[in-house]
């Protein structure tokens, strides 16, 4: 799997195009895009993402290696932004390619849960009322724990 940590915009369509119809044994290609939300109730102008260069790459590689050990994956891609993002921009793109659909779907779900809780990224939302660091969600911790409870 290809891993990229970048301050450049992510083009989900181009990333998906690079994985579709490429692998002969592939029956399923799943993509997940996490993007910057801007609800009317909590408008944001910029999402700032800080990360820990050096550790980020290692942490994502470990998550990908664990996904590859659990499911038969033919290919995939994990791309994560850092820096300043605008509403609607893609924060993270995860794609998985497998012979069977459940392997691809579950691996993407797993990678997202682990990225949320085990990769060193921090989000700060900037809006008309100033900036604040996004708190971690207990649902995210619980979601990540699903994968160790049933292994």
């Amino acid at each position: 799997m290809e891993i990229r940590i970048t301050s450049d915009p992510i083009d989900p369509a181009a990333e998906l195009a690079a994985l579709s119809g490429v692998h002969k044994a592939a029956g399923a290609v799943v993509s997940f895009c996490g993007q910057v939300r801007s609800d009317e109730s909590a408008p944001i102008t910029t999402l700032e993402i800080e990360h820990y260069p050096g550790m980020t790459e290692t942490a994502i590689a470990a998550i990908v290696a664990e996904a590859e050990a659990r499911w038969d994956l033919l290919a995939g891609r994990v791309i994560h932004r850092h820096g300043q993002l605008s509403p609607g921009e893609t924060i993270v793109f995860v794609a998985t390619v497998a012979a069977h659909r459940h392997a691809a779907l579950h691996a993407a779900d797993f990678i997202m849960d682990y990225l949320k809780t085990r990769a060193p990224f921090w989000k700060k939302e900037h809006g008309p009322e100033g900036g604040h660091w996004v708190g971690s969600r207990t649902e995210d911790e619980a979601a990540a724990r699903r994968w160790s409870d049933d292994s």
């Binding site: 996490g34 993402i49 800080e50 990360h51 820990y52 050096g54 550790m55 290692t58 942490a59 994560h80 924060i91 993270v92 997202m112 990225l115 949320k116 809780t117 085990r118 990769a119 060193p120 990224f121 921090w122 989000k123 700060k124 660091w133 996004v134 708190g135 971690s136 911790e141």
Partner: protein, 83 residues
């Protein structure tokens, strides 16, 4: 030993610097955070409640009770919010 200490997110903002070198004899992560809390007031406010923090030693996530052993780099930050 001399540790390279890194701060991220609101930990970095409250301490006011992204990294520094600190001399320590602490045996565990928890003991080291205790030493930090004894420094100036702004350190005390951040490190007095270590359960709210996450720590990586030499770029690996670890528990508060992990040994510091031969560590050269320790990073202290809030729970991660990537993805």
């Amino acid at each position: 030993m001399t540790l390279r200490v890194l701060y991220f997110a609101w930990v970095r903002e409250r301490i006011g610097i992204p990294d520094e070198e600190i001399e320590t004899t602490a045996a565990t992560v928890r003991a080291f955070l205790g030493e930090l809390a004894e420094r100036e007031e702004r350190y005390h406010r951040v490190f007095a409640n270590p359960e709210a923090l996450r720590v990586a030693v030499d770029q690996r996530l670890c528990d508060l009770d992990s040994p510091l052993a031969d560590a050269s780099e320790i990073a202290i930050f809030p729970p991660m919010t990537g993805g």
